[in-house]
Structure formats: C-alpha cells, structure tokens
C-alpha cells in the first residue's frame, strides 16, 4: 500500500462521520443545488415555516440532510421553494462499514442521553433515517421482489 493510501485509511478510521458521503461524491445523481455559496433555505417546521443558513449538506442512509449553522438538521424533503426533487439512496448502496458507523453513532448518542423527541436535532434526524432504512432493508425486501426501476 502506498503512503497516500495508508494516510487515507487512518483519516477514515479517526473520523467515522466522513462515512456520510458528501453530495458531490455520489456518482449516480448530480444535483445542481445547493450551490456552493452560503444559502438561506426555507423549510417546514412543526410551528409552520422557518428559515436557516446552510452550513453543510450530508448524505444519510436514505435521503440528504441539510445541516444549518445553528446545528439544526433539516431533511431535504422539508425544504420549500423551487429546487430539484429530493434525491434518495437505495438500501443496497449502503455498505457494511457505513451502516455500522451509523449504528455506533446512534448507540453513543443514546448512551449520552440525547432524546430523539427534540426537534431538528442530529439524534432525531439520524434515528429517523435509520428506521426508514431498516424498513426498506428488511421488511420491504422480504415482501417484494426487487423493483427493476431501482437498478
């Protein structure tokens, strides 16, 4: 293994959150938005609509999450206004490493006493995606033959 490869491996191990793939690295979808500039978004919230400044966009296990500068996590499907349709991942696209990193993160957030009932917080966002992904991975896979449109 070359020195470069060794470095890459150690970085991935040290920072498991890197396993949440940034949007621009997905080869199968090429969303044109959000632009790289700081962007204010409007989104639906429990209390109506709300606004926030996007800090980062991350792929989850099923959909993309928009991380705001104040730490709130907004799933893409809640964003209002004109933009491209939300993009989704297939359960088969999730590798063992990514899934296990996600599970470890959830377990440590639960151990830390975080509550998924706190609105727009990372634990809630990650647990919601994990449950959706688990449903698609197990229940739906048992009930139906693979949809050719997925592949």
């Amino acid at each position: 293994m070359s020195p470069v490869n060794r470095n890459q491996k150690s970085v991935t191990k040290a920072t498991p959150t890197l396993l949440m793939r940034p949007t621009e690295k997905r080869p199968d979808v090429h969303p044109k938005w959000p632009s790289e500039e700081a962007q204010v978004i409007n989104f639906t919230s429990r209390g109506g609509s709300a606004t926030g400044v996007v800090k980062e966009v991350r792929w989850g296990l099923v959909w993309r999450d928009f991380i705001l500068e104040d730490g709130r996590v907004i799933p893409e499907y809640k964003i209002l206004g004109e933009h491209e349709s939300p993009v989704w991942r297939k359960p088969q696209d999730i590798g063992q490493d990514e899934r296990e990193a996600w599970e470890r993160r959830l377990a440590s957030m639960a151990d830390a006493g975080l509550d998924p009932r706190d609105e727009e917080q990372p634990f809630r966002a990650e647990l919601n995606q994990y449950l959706a992904y688990t449903y698609l991975r197990f229940k739906e896979a048992r009930n139906k033959p693979p949809d050719p449109k997925w592949t």
């Binding site: 199968d28 979808v29 099923v62 799933p75 499907y77 809640k78 349709s85 939300p86 993009v87 989704w88 297939k90 063992q96 899934r99 296990e100 599970e103 959830l106 377990a107 639960a110 151990d111 006493g113 509550d115 998924p116 009932r117 609105e119 809630r124 647990l127 919601n128 449950l131 959706a132 688990t134 449903y135 698609l136 197990f138 229940k139 739906e140 896979a141 048992r142 949809d147 449109k149 997925w150």
Partner: protein, 102 residues
C-alpha cells in the same frame, strides 16, 4: 443512402436522461412507501413504536436467516442491527420514564 451517426456525446446524454427518469420513478415509489408506514417524518411521540416495529422486522428476517446455512454475513449484520435497536429501545424507554416523571 447516407446514414447519419448519432454523436456519442448526444447518445450518452440521452442515456443519462432516460436512466435518470427511471431512477427518479423508483425514488417516488420509495417516498410513497415510507410515507404510508409513517417513516418519513416520525411524529415526536411515535419513535418508541417505530423502533419496536423495526425490531420486529429485523427479528422476522433473522428467523429466516437462522434457518438457512448460507447468508451468514447477512445474519451477522441483522443481529448487529437488532442489538442496536434494542439499545435504542431501552434508551427511549428510559427517556419516556424520565419525561413522565418531570
């Protein structure tokens, strides 16, 4: 008769467009499916219930996998997921109790 060849870049663009449409169509089905089972935006008071349902789905699959001698990798990963869900369920129960006490 002269046959005009379609330039490769035009053909590739058309293929990408068609594949993209099929992909989006599949995604729409997933959106509808997840919405129907209440997993797109889980209401605050339904997380415990959804974790229980997920646990059941994993246990059902694990039961199938335990009967077969193949799929050992899937069996291990299902067992790992089940352990995670149990941990989450316990944490949610603790949280539920402490909120009720408040």
């Amino acid at each position: 008769m002269k046959i005009r060849m379609i330039p490769s870049e035009v053909r590739e663009e058309a293929e990408r467009y068609i594949m993209g449409k099929a992909y989006q169509s599949g995604k729409q089905q997933v959106w509808s499916l997840l919405s129907e089972v209440g997993l797109v935006d889980i209401p605050t008071d339904e997380f415990s219930e959804r974790v229980k349902e997920a646990k059941k789905a994993v246990m059902d699959r694990l039961g199938e996998l335990l009967e077969s001698t193949t799929d050992i990798e899937e069996r291990d990963s299902a067992a790992y997921s089940l352990a995670t869900l149990k941990k989450l369920e316990t944490a949610l129960q603790r949280k539920g109790t402490s909120r009720t006490a408040d």
